[in-house]
């Protein structure tokens, strides 16, 4: 689908991309990763001709892209940037429909596209379409950024560290969503990141770059088993150092993998403040605690919307659907519970039944990676 043939780019004397060649298949989720300044963004921007290489050729579906009009080419390729890049002078609806309008789709069709896309990320049209970007939370803004890239149904989407500026919980949610979207809409995605966790949880294929060259191009599993170069190993072990613990995998407990940043609210909170909190922090559920700080259950935004009454306490809406584990339970047990559970996380409790943290699917993926490279230094 996308083919790089000996692409080189330099600014003055400085070579930025050195003879890069690779091929991406239709429907593949490819993640470009590597240290800062290694040329990831430059590589990405050569695909939609925001940057013209000095040497080499790029083909999309067999066609040399330099033979196409760059403006028209870009309308067939979705583009999401790190700084979000929503146009502040346009509403959510106008932002999403930028490319369809450039392509002169009829008005009604543009509106339908916006409605369908907002549905895809659970942001009701009536509530959101006419807001300006500044009225949205960071996570919601980047969702709109992603939807804007999808609007004209381009077969290819380029994403440059799209979730880099978001807090970890929001990032998890968006990663999950983009993965779902890709599966559903069968897009070819080229995604830039410098976060190995993100690469591992998203990629079909990881391209590791350093100093303008491709060091390794492999599936996540293969890269885990066979890091192609010392720099890849060190890149991986850096992630591990950021982790909580370097013990052997057999001694790992639930507490070693939990996130301690948990949004907790007392059961006496009112529905309205909970909704506000959820939307400002971009989560769709909250952990609810008793007066003595012990764990009571969780409350979801759907539940509040369905049954909540403004000004009422949330205690009645709390459910115990989410599975809990003790912090000293084996990590493996916690993971098994998470995998068999409906929800996207499990709650970790202290011995005195207060909330210690939670384990999400991403923290689990990270843990598995750490276990594999535990001995790499």
């Amino acid at each position: 689908m996308i083919k790089f043939e000996n692409i080189s780019k330099s600014y003055g004397q400085t070579a930025i991309l050195k003879n890069i060649s690779f091929e991406i298949k239709q429907g593949e989720f490819v993640v470009l990763i590597g240290p800062s300044g290694c040329g990831k963004t430059t590589t990405l921007k050569t695909i939609n001709r925001l940057i013209e290489p000095n040497d080499g050729k790029i083909f999309i579906n067999g066609k040399d892209i330099t033979k196409e009009n760059p403006v028209e080419l870009r309308r067939t390729i979705g583009y999401v940037i790190q700084q979000i890049g929503l146009f502040p002078n346009m509403t959510v609806e106008q932002n999403i429909s930028v490319v369809p309008r450039l392509l002169k789709y009829p008005k009604q069709k543009c509106k339908e596209i916006v409605q369908d896309l907002l549905k895809l990320v659970d942001m009701p049209y009536e509530e959101n379409a006419h807001k300006y970007p500044s009225e949205l939370s960071g996570g919601q803004q980047q969702r709109i950024g992603v939807l804007r890239a999808l609007a004209a149904s381009p077969p290819i989407i380029l994403m440059d560290e799209p979730f880099g500026a978001l807090d970890p919980l929001t990032r998890d949610t968006l990663q999950e969503e983009i993965k779902q979207i890709q599966k559903k809409l069968k897009k070819t995605i080229v995604f830039v990141t410098h976060d190995m966790d993100e690469a591992l949880s998203l990629a079909d294929t990881i391209i590791f770059m350093d100093k303008g060259k491709i060091i390794q191009m492999a599936s996540p599993e293969e890269m885990l088993q066979n890091p192609g170069a010392p720099i890849i190993k060190s890149f991986l072990s850096k992630q591990i150092d950021n982790g909580s613990n370097g013990n052997g995998s057999q001694k790992l407990f639930a507490e070693d993998f939990m996130r301690t940043k948990v949004l907790k609210v007392p059961k006496t909170s009112r529905t309205l403040e909970c909704i506000k909190l959820m939307s400002s922090r971009d989560v769709n559920s909250l952990v609810v605690i008793n007066e003595d700080d012990t764990y009571l259950g969780t409350v979801t935004i759907e539940k509040i919307k369905e049954q909540g009454q403004p000004g009422k306490e949330i205690a009645d809406l709390v459910t115990a659907e989410v599975i809990t584990v003790g912090r000293k339970e084996a990590a493996q047990v916690a993971f098994d519970k998470l995998l068999s559970s409906e929800s996207s996380y499990v709650i970790v409790l202290n011995d005195n039944q207060t909330v210690a943290g939670l384990i999400t699917r991403t923290s689990m993926a990270k843990a598995l990676g750490e276990a594999l490279w535990g001995e790499v230094q």
Binding site: N48, L50, V71, E72, L73, R74, R75, T76, Y79, I81, Q83, I84, G85, L86, F87, P88, N89, V98, V99, L102, S134, R148, L158
Partner: protein, 200 residues
């Protein structure tokens, strides 16, 4: 007498409005050209700056030699005089649009013109508007000098007052100029604040 005053105010307003309309169009166009064509920016900004440093009386005298007496000449003078704040603010505003947004607009497949009209001008509009405000407020007072080159407006009343040493007549011409300048400055500053707030 009040008929003459009303007429003076209306003429004054008409002259200034026409001049500001023209210099807004010309100024924004020159601002865009300086933004687009790298080496032209210092040339265009330099010329607008020189125009503004010429004392207004001297500029009007020069124009009178070329264009003769009358309203046209004062309008041309006002246009030249009002150019600098509008060109400069347009240029500065366009330059200041975040490079990420320009990148995003290019990446979405907008042509140069589409980027200008859909993104860059709307986002620099608060600054362009502020340039227009400065130009308008200045022009209201400079237009008084139109009387010296045979133009209409409140200048004629003031001039008549000076010649007949009639303080009352002088004030009758001068006060509306001051009031209009203050009113426009106040009103447009309010709008400007709202524009800036909305842009955030």
């Amino acid at each position: 007498m009040s008929g003459a005053l009303l007429q003076g105010i209306l003429e004054h307003m008409a002259i200034v409005s026409i001049a500001i309309l023209i210099s807004t169009v010309v100024g924004v166009i020159f601002g865009v050209i300086s933004y687009w064509v790298r080496f032209l920016d210092s040339v265009i900004l330099g010329i607008s700056e020189i125009l503004q440093t010429i004392p207004s009386l001297a500029l009007l005298a020069l124009l009178m030699i070329i264009f003769g007496l009358g309203n046209i000449t004062i309008i041309i003078g006002l246009v030249l005089y009002a150019l600098l704040p509008i060109v400069r603010n347009t240029y500065t505003g366009l330059k200041a649009v975040s490079p990420h947004l320009k990148d995003a607009a290019r990446g979405m497949g907008m042509s140069k013109m589409q980027r200008l009209f859909k993104i860059e001008i709307p986002l620099s509009f608060p600054l362009i508007f502020s340039g227009i405000k400065i130009a308008l407020v200045n022009s209201l007072s400079v237009a008084v000098m139109g009387v010296l080159i045979g133009a209409n407006g409140l200048g004629t009343i003031i001039y008549r007052g000076i010649q007949s040493r009639n303080m009352e007549t002088i004030l009758m011409g001068a006060i509306p100029v001051v009031v209009m300048a203050l009113a426009f400055d106040f009103g447009m500053s309010k709008i400007e604040k709202r524009l800036i707030k909305r842009a955030k």
